[in-house]
């Protein structure tokens, strides 16, 4: 357990040293979301209707940005070999890196999603529900995205392959997440979101661990 906490500490130290990656994802989120009023006009009726979907899609794309370097940087400089012989199982290494991704990308996105949604004229009544769907949503982004990053590690054209694998896998989360904000009684939507979380929480680290073992061998 202490090794696992040390791994998360390592991820946070590196993220702080290379803060540009996390900040770039956040700025992308803010800028991409604020493009919509320019394209669709500032009418509150139009904006309020599309805001939950816009926030969800843009948050998903922003969470993808740092995934390329999630394992890639350590793979290239040999640090991944060191992590694999650190005494942790490969799936624990993968889970630690996914938690690192959530803490440095998912959590900041969740925090900034509120102000951005208000800027896009989301009905303030819906705001808690948007954040409540984004909480499992961003965790799913880190799990599924981290799994895709591990699978494409070391592959030629991995940069292009990563979103092609990750985005289709995110579609269920997107459907139920965005719907959970707007439908009147979102019980089924929330059940599906947390069901997806229960599915990927064990599955993604295991698959990513197997992929990491294959990448270093």
């Amino acid at each position: 357990m202490s090794r696992f906490i040390a791994l998360i500490r390592r991820e946070l130290i590196l993220a702080m040293r290379h803060a540009g990656d996390s900040v770039a994802a956040l700025l992308f989120f803010v800028i991409a979301a604020s493009l919509f009023p320019f394209a669709l006009g500032p009418s509150p009726q139009v904006l309020a209707g599309i805001t939950p979907g816009v926030i969800w899609v843009v948050a998903l794309l922003a969470a993808l940005l740092p995934l390329n370097r999630l394992f890639g940087a350590d793979f290239e400089d040999g640090a991944l070999d060191q992590l694999m012989v650190s005494g942790l199982p490969a799936s624990a290494v993968a889970l630690g890196k996914m938690i690192g991704h959530w803490l440095t990308t998912g959590l900041p996105l969740l925090i900034i999603a509120g102000p951005v949604a208000v800027m896009l004229r989301l009905d303030p009544v819906l705001l808690p529900r948007l954040l409540l769907t984004l909480l499992p949503g961003t965790i799913l982004f880190s799990l599924v995205g981290g799994m895709s990053a591990a699978i494409t590690l070391g592959a030629r054209g991995g940069t292009v392959l990563l979103p092609l694998i990750a985005l289709p896998l995110m579609i269920p989360a997107l459907i139920f997440g965005a719907a959970g904000v707007v439908v009147p009684h979102p019980v089924a939507e929330f059940a599906m979101l947390f069901g997806l979380l229960a599915l990927f929480l064990p599955l993604a680290p295991l698959a990513a661990g197997a992929a990491l073992r294959a990448a270093v061998s």
């Binding site: 390592r10 040293r17 012989v85 005494g87 490969a90 061998s217």
Partner: protein, 201 residues
């Protein structure tokens, strides 16, 4: 005690070596020699549990070492041909990146490779030989009995090579084991050597 029985490795579709066998007692050292591409790094990665062997067994004290890779990993310290150094961190920061280590232990580890003067320097300012030395400083922080070293002397000056040989002797005197792949002659008394070109497929 580390024992390899008829290990074989496949890279891509090619059999790199087969029938690699050796027995390493506590205090022993093994030099892997052979031309480029003979499989020295492949064998080291195999011994580290990073690559599964295509055939053969690796035994630690008589038990299969690769049954439990995380447990096997706690017995070894692996210094690969990549230095695993983060250029954005300081020299000392690189050493305490994997886990929190008291500053005194960091300084002591840096002294073993004569880098203690540069502890607060960003690692990106180090020369390639100094980066190699920083990677080798990890050995001093690891309690593991088995050192797996891939070309440890690449880029090192003669004084650093001599210091490394002293550390090897110290580690072996405490019952540690060393497996090193190298082209350059290392002054290690009483070492076995395994010529991978002779057992290459």
């Amino acid at each position: 005690m580390l024992e390899a029985r008829s290990l074989a490795a496949i890279r891509g579709e090619r059999l790199v070596f087969r029938d690699a066998s050796f027995l390493l007692e506590p205090g022993g050292a093994l030099l892997l020699v052979g031309p480029n591409g003979a499989g020295k790094s492949s064998l080291l990665r195999l011994l580290a549990g990073l690559t599964p062997p295509a055939a053969g067994e690796l035994l630690w004290d008589g038990e299969n070492a690769l049954d439990d890779p995380p447990l096997h990993a706690t017995r070894l310290c692996f210094v690969g041909h990549l230095d695993a150094i983060k250029p954005g961190l300081t020299v000392a920061g690189n050493l305490s990146l994997p886990r929190r280590i008291p500053p005194a232990a960091i300084v002591a580890a840096l002294e073993t490779v004569d880098l203690d003067r540069f502890a607060d320097l960003p690692a990106r300012l180090l020369s390639s030989g100094q980066r190699r030395r920083l990677a080798l400083a990890r050995l001093a922080l690891s309690p593991a009995p088995l050192w797996l070293l891939d070309e440890p002397t690449t880029g090192l000056d003669t004084a650093s090579v001599w210091r490394l040989e002293q550390r090897f002797a110290g580690h072996r005197a405490k019952g540690g084991m060393i497996v090193a792949a190298t082209h350059l002659p290392l002054d290690l008394p009483g070492t076995q050597s395994l010529d991978l070109s002779r057992i290459a497929a």
